[in-house]
Every structure is written in structure tokens, then in C-alpha cells.
Subunit: 252 residues, 2 copies
């Protein structure tokens, strides 16, 4: 498959799909800001508006930036592998820091108001995502950047890293949808069923969130859009294949 | 990739992963039943309990059966392709019929109670899933079963069918989570934050729903678990490759 990818012509449609995903992602961020500004009084740290920091940070960090970090290997196809890897890791660090601010905001807001923590499905999913995200980053960093695992271990771990990266991203979007729904039902109650403008705006935002996830996943999973291995990687991979061809039945 | 797969040893771990996914899926169905029985008064068509038909049917049809329909090609690896294909299509038909009953139940319940329809994010996602599911089935049926498209068209459409099948499944699980959350907030309100047993049970159910989706997706995407092409399919695919190798730049 890898050699096939390196011979494939440059994917002409890819830039359009990436542009579309970015348009969707930025619309989601803008619309979250618009929702909070128009219907929730805007954002501040030292007031009741502190809660609003939470959804905005989570959408920017754990949805938009996390999604973009996954696309790095599709977008930067001809840069050195190490540069792309560092960019991928850094985007995840930014996403994590922004999400951490969002997490502190909601816990701090709950503490000041005397609200209980971590009782809802949204919060359970959210905390799970947060822990898994940190673990995935630490394991990925130690396998692929520092200290770095052996070539054979990396080859084995890579598909797991890719799968769980995508799964954590999807779970993040799921948690965001649950949070959006929670915020709507808490405030609107039965007014939600009267097609209040806030409800309609938030529903559209929810569909766009799901659309962004589908767009990122589509770009990520198209096999002919995978990053072609560069000359030196391919040589290494060939050597490795020759060396290990004897014990292939042990791999499954 | 295909020739590699046909030479690969039978995946020894696959049955354990499939068994685990089935255990998760059946637990989700049983727990939905338990939730409705213990905290919502059970199920009936001709009373206020008609609503409860909706979540149960959706979890059985659009979560459990839809997920299992996706796994058919991994589980039945050595049966004739056509038999597996018919089973895949039939499972989706069962899933669709059960989901249709669930859909009728909620619309009928709303009508009797005078509640408005289709105002919430859950309902928007749900209707979207339903329409996409039907379209995907019809297009899949006409390409792969009757009347059937040309070999080259099938080869082009197959990856799209697989991707959108997985995406619709994920969106179904997302819609189920939103519905669960809605049902909890409508009934429990602020009691939800007091760790009421119903809330805790439903949160666990939500996590298991997400876990089932991840398990199905993992089995589906592991490249070494893909169904190996059988002798006659491989011969066809080789012929096709030889025939079309001249115009490969047109494919992207």
C-alpha cells in the first residue's frame, strides 16, 4: 500500500476538501462566539459570564484545533517528516492548553455558584476525553519524538495511535454536542419547542459540528490521500520488511 | 494491499474483539430495556408509555443492528461474497424497519399529546440519520445487488459506501446520546445533579453506547482484518487492473 501511495499522482481534490473543512471549522468557532455573544451575554472571567469561557475554549481547542492537528500529515505532504510531526504535536499542545482553560473555567464557575460537578453524561464524556487526550499525547510523544521507540515498535503502535486519535476526536465532538444540548435545555426549557431563535441557531451549530467531524474523518481516511512515505523512510521500511519477513506469522 | 490481505494469516484476535463488541451491544440493549422498565414504567403502544417504544427501537435498530450489519464482512470471511452481501443488506433492512417503528411511535405520541415535532438538535440529527440511512441503502442496493453497476463503478463507489456507512452509524450513536440526555433533563431536571440512580444508570448507558461505537469502528478499520478477496474476485480485479492501467492519471 505504501509503495502504491508514493507512486500515486498528487491528489488534486484534497486542497478543496481541506479548504471546505476549514470553512466549516471556522464557521463553528464563529457561530459558537455568536451564540454566546447574542444569547448568553458574552464572555468574562470574573463574573457569571465565566461559564461561557467553557464552550468557546472547548470548541476552539478540542474540536477545531484537535481536528486540524489530525490533518497535518495530509496537508504537509512534502515537508520533512520530523517537521510535520512537531507541528502535529504542537497543535495538540495548543488544543490541550485551551481546553484546560475551558475546564478550569467551568469548575471555577461551579465552585463559586455552589453547583455540583461531574454528574452529567456530558461531563463524564468530557473528562474521559480529557484524560484520554493527555494519555494519547504522552504515549505518542514518547514513541515518536522523545525518547522514541524502536522502528518495529513504532510500526506496530502507529495504526493504534491513528485509530485512537480519530476516536478521541469523535468523542470530543460528541461531548460538545451533549454540552450544547444541556446548555439549551437548562436555559430554554419548554421554550426550546417553540423554535426560539437561540434554539434554531444552536441546532444549526450542532449540525455544523457534526459536519466538521465528518469532513475531517473523510480527509483522514481516504487511502489515496495518505502521506506518501519519503525516499529515506521508504528505504528504511524496505530494510525492515526484509529483516522481519521470516517471523511474519507472529504479527496479527 | 489486497494481495497482501489474501496472504495474511487468519486474524486470531478478531473473534475476541467481535465477541467483546457483541457483549457491549447486547449490554446496551439490555440496559436500555432496564432503564425504561425500572424508571419509565415499561413499554406499551396504546398509552403514555408509547414514547418508550422510541428509544428501545432506535437502540436495537439504528445502534445494535446497524453496527452488526457493518461487521458482517469481517465475521463471514470465507462465505461467498454474494451471501455476505445479502446478509449485510438484510440486517440493514431489519434495522430500518425497527427504526421506522421507533419513529412512528414518537410522532404518534407527540400527536396524541399535542407536542411539537422536530424542534430539538436530537430530532434534527435523528431525521438526518434516517434519510441518509435510506439513501445509502438504496444506492448500495442498486450498485452492488440490483441492477448492479459496472465493475469499475463499483470499485470507485465502494470506499465512499464504506465511509458513509461508518459516518451514518456514528451519527446514529450521536443522535442516541442526544436523545438520552434530553430524556434525562426533561424528567430529572435539577435532580440530575444529585446523582439520582436513574441519572447514573443513564450516564453509564451513554458511555457504553459510545464504547460500542468505538469497538465496531476499531474492528472495521483494522487493515489486517479486512476480508481477503476470494480467488475469483482477485482474478477479476487483476483483469480490471490490467485493462485500466493505461488511464490511471484520471483517477484521483
Amino acid at each position: 500500500m505504501e509503495s502504491q501511495a508514493s507512486m500515486a499522482p498528487a491528489p488534486r481534490a484534497l486542497p478543496y476538501y481541506v479548504a471546505f473543512s476549514q470553512l466549516l471549522g471556522l464557521t463553528v468557532v464563529a457561530m459558537t462566539g455568536a451564540w454566546l455573544g447574542l444569547y448568553r451575554g458574552g464572555i468574562a472571567w470574573e463574573s457569571a459570564l465565566q461559564f461561557n469561557v467553557h464552550p468557546l475554549c472547548m470548541v476552539i481547542g478540542l474540536v477545531f484545533l484537535q481536528g486540524d492537528a489530525l490533518l497535518v500529515y495530509r496537508v504537509f505532504r512534502n515537508e520533512a517528516k520530523r517537521t510535520t510531526k512537531i507541528l502535529h504535536g504542537l497543535l495538540h499542545v495548543f488544543a490541550f492548553i485551551i481546553a484546560l482553560v475551558g475546564l478550569v473555567a467551568v469548575f471555577d464557575y461551579h465552585r463559586k455558584k455552589g453547583y455540583p460537578d461531574l454528574y452529567s453524561l456530558h461531563s463524564w464524556c468530557g473528562i474521559l476525553v480529557f484524560v484520554l487526550y493527555l494519555v494519547q499525547w504522552l504515549v505518542g510523544f514518547s514513541f515518536f519524538l522523545f525518547p522514541g521507540a524502536s522502528f518495529s515498535l513504532r510500526i506496530r503502535y502507529r495504526p493504534q495511535h491513528v485509530f485512537f486519535g480519530a476516536a478521541i476526536f469523535l468523542l470530543s465532538v460528541g461531548a460538545a454536542l451533549l454540552g450544547l444540548k444541556e446548555a439549551l435545555l437548562f436555559k430554554l426549557g419548554t421554550e426550546y419547542s417553540m423554535f426560539e431563535p437561540e434554539g434554531v441557531l444552536a441546532n444549526v451549530l450542532g449540525l455544523l459540528l457534526a459536519g466538521f467531524a465528518v469532513a475531517v474523518l473523510y480527509i483522514l481516511t481516504r487511502s489515496d490521500w495518505k502521506r506518501p512515505p519519503q525516499a529515506e523512510e521508504q528505504a528504511l521500511s524496505m530494510d525492515f520488511k526484509t529483516l522481519t519477513e521470516g517471523d511474519s506469522p507472529s504479527s496479527q
